[in-house]
């Protein structure tokens, strides 16, 4: 990178401008990634944190997809699943959205109703008790030992545990006995949380009229998650594509402007390979600085933002998008390399057109 590094210094202004663009795009992509992950976590963490590897849904109609809001698993099906060979644990879970009150304070919560013996909640819940996620306790201003009304039923706060939320609402773990009215049979569950050993899931599904999916696959059954996540990911994808194009355009213009010098270097014996390495190295340095600065800024802003909005700050939301930008930027820059190959060293001789 003999000439490339000196060009970086010599054409400071131009590269600083491009570096700023890379920095800003990185800032945007990382912030968006953190926000996407934060919103996603608010939507799904209660499901992903379940001590289970698969969820059993009621099989939807042929043209419908599985959905937490539509699934109803009657008591008989629950019993039948418990008898399926090769399934380790079968925990019925009924969930839905409701209101919680404590004194004058109210908040929306996701109720997760389970059997008294269930291992799903962070702390076992008995009839008459509720285990609140931290956010719910904070919103309601209650602590363990206090009383709250969940869906019209007065319950004692057995514990404040975990930070799980579902569909942007903090989780309130309750006993099946205290479940608010949802219009389904009181002993019907929404899903079964199971741990699968050697079971033939397809056969069990076919026999019992259910559809069993992995926990990860079940997330799209949360209506708000699939649409929200989809549009945020689309924005992120577009930003990444735009950055590759912008960087590609910059290096293409730069290469065109530089072609007289490329011709000189070729005339005095620089191979195309040497010039390409030089150019790729230059793009890499620019991208590394730009994304590094952008990621650092975004991490700082994200740390502040995390106190007011859902925001996840971590390698997956900071380093991964930055690395992706470097790779896509290099792909964009590579588009300009073709031009290096086509520069004719003869043009350096000037007079011979």
């Amino acid at each position: 990178m003999f000439v490339a590094l000196r060009d970086l210094k010599f054409a400071k202004g131009r590269f600083a401008l491009m570096g700023t663009v890379v920095t800003l795009i990185t800032l945007l992509v990382v912030l968006l990634s953190g926000l996407t992950a934060g919103l996603g976590r608010e939507n799904i963490s209660a499901i992903t944190d379940l001590d289970a590897d698969h969820l059993v849904f009621a099989a939807p109609a042929a043209d419908q997809d599985i959905s937490f809001s539509d699934s109803v698993i009657p008591a008989q099906t629950q019993a039948d699943w418990a008898d399926v060979a090769g399934v380790a644990a079968v925990e019925p879970l009924a969930l839905g959205m409701t209101r919680a009150e404590s004194g004058a304070r109210t908040t929306g919560v996701a109720f997760f109703a389970v059997d008294e013996a269930s291992a799903l909640p962070p702390v076992a819940v008995r009839s008459g008790e509720v285990v609140l996620a931290e956010q719910a306790a904070e919103d309601l201003g209650v602590a363990a030992g206090g009383t709250v009304t969940v869906g019209g039923v007065e319950l004692e706060v057995a514990a404040v545990a975990g930070s799980d939320s579902y569909s942007h609402a903090p989780v309130a773990w309750i006993s099946d006995a205290d479940r608010p009215m949802t219009g389904t049979a009181p002993d019907a569950a929404t899903v079964l949380a199971i741990r699968v050993g050697t079971a033939d899931l397809a056969a069990a599904d076919a026999a019992l009229g259910t559809e069993t999916v992995t926990v990860a696959d079940s997330l799209n059954a949360i209506g708000s998650y699939s649409s929200e996540n989809g549009s945020l990911q689309l924005m992120r994808g577009l930003l990444l594509a735009i950055s590759a194009l912008v960087i590609g355009a910059f290096f293409t213009v730069w290469t065109v402007q530089r072609s007289p010098e490329i011709a000189i270097l070729k005339a005095v014996g620089a191979s195309t390979g040497y010039l390409v390495r030089d150019a790729v190295g230059q793009a890499f340095v620019l991208l590394l600085f730009g994304t590094g600065l952008g990621a650092a800024l975004a991490a700082g802003l994200g740390a502040v933002a995390a106190t007011v909005v859902p925001f996840v700050l971590g390698p997956a939301t900071v380093l991964l998008p930055a690395a992706l930008l470097v790779v896509l930027g290099l792909v964009g820059a590579a588009a300009s390399l073709r031009r290096i190959a086509t520069v004719d060293p003869l043009t350096a001789l000037g007079a011979a057109r």
């Binding site: 054409a11 000189i264 270097l265 070729k266 005339a267 005095v268 620089a270 001789l349 000037g350 011979a352």
Partner: protein, 226 residues
């Protein structure tokens, strides 16, 4: 016997037909000798240098460098020949804007994969030899036209070639500076045993030459040195 062009013919596409830029040209350049190529504008002088520099492949004929025909070489091999064995000085001082005078030379060593320390010393010696020892840290825009041309000459010699090809080195200079460049080329050719081929349109320069070849309409013939 360093560089021999034997019976070289070169044509360019020209409308429906072809334009003959070099018509069975033969030229010999020997070590320590300055060969001047003169002729009117458009006569084929630059084309001749381009062929000698392996920048264009002629339609026919041979370009022998120490007995090896360069015409048959592939692009990679020709790039290497230009890097290691032929120095080129262009009509306008073609320097790289971001590099200092010294770096214009050391980049040549970098191209050849040479260690930077030895290269730095040799580059400084060469800048001294062309009278620019004190300007080593300057970039092209901080140098005069004559100084830039001297840097180009020094760059041409950096990888110690046996052949130096020079295209109208003084066309952008006044006559005093032009004469100084000519003196320099004459001196370097003798001191370093270079086979120098210099294209010029200035008949005053012929006094410095050991041989003179005149090209008219692509055809070359020897003139007696002035």
């Amino acid at each position: 016997m360093t560089m021999h062009l034997n019976d070289v013919t070169l044509t360019y596409p020209d409308g429906d037909g072809r334009l003959t830029a070099l018509d069975h040209v033969t030229l010999h350049a020997e070590p320590g000798e300055l060969t001047a190529v003169v002729g009117p504008s458009g006569s084929g002088k630059s084309s001749l240098l381009a062929v000698a520099a392996t920048l264009i492949t002629p339609d026919s004929g041979q370009v022998l460098l120490d007995g090896t025909d360069l015409v048959g070489l592939n692009r990679k091999q020709r790039t290497r020949v230009r890097r290691d064995r032929i120095g080129i000085v262009f009509q306008s001082a073609n320097l790289l804007a971001s590099l200092t005078a010294l770096e214009q030379l050391t980049v040549m060593a970098h191209l050849a994969g040479e260690a930077p320390t030895a290269a730095g010393e040799r580059a400084l010696e060469l800048l001294d030899a062309v009278g620019l020892g004190a300007q080593a840290g300057r970039r092209p825009h901080q140098l005069s036209g004559g100084q830039r041309q001297r840097v180009t000459i020094a760059r041409g010699l950096m990888n110690e070639p046996s052949v130096l090809l020079v295209d109208e080195p003084t066309s952008a200079l006044d006559s005093e500076r032009g004469a100084a460049i000519l003196d320099l080329l004459r001196r370097l050719t003798t001191e370093r045993g270079l086979a120098t081929v210099m294209v010029t349109h200035d008949r005053d320069h012929l006094a410095h030459a050991d041989r003179v070849v005149e090209i008219v309409d692509g055809r070359a013939h020897a003139l007696a040195p002035a």
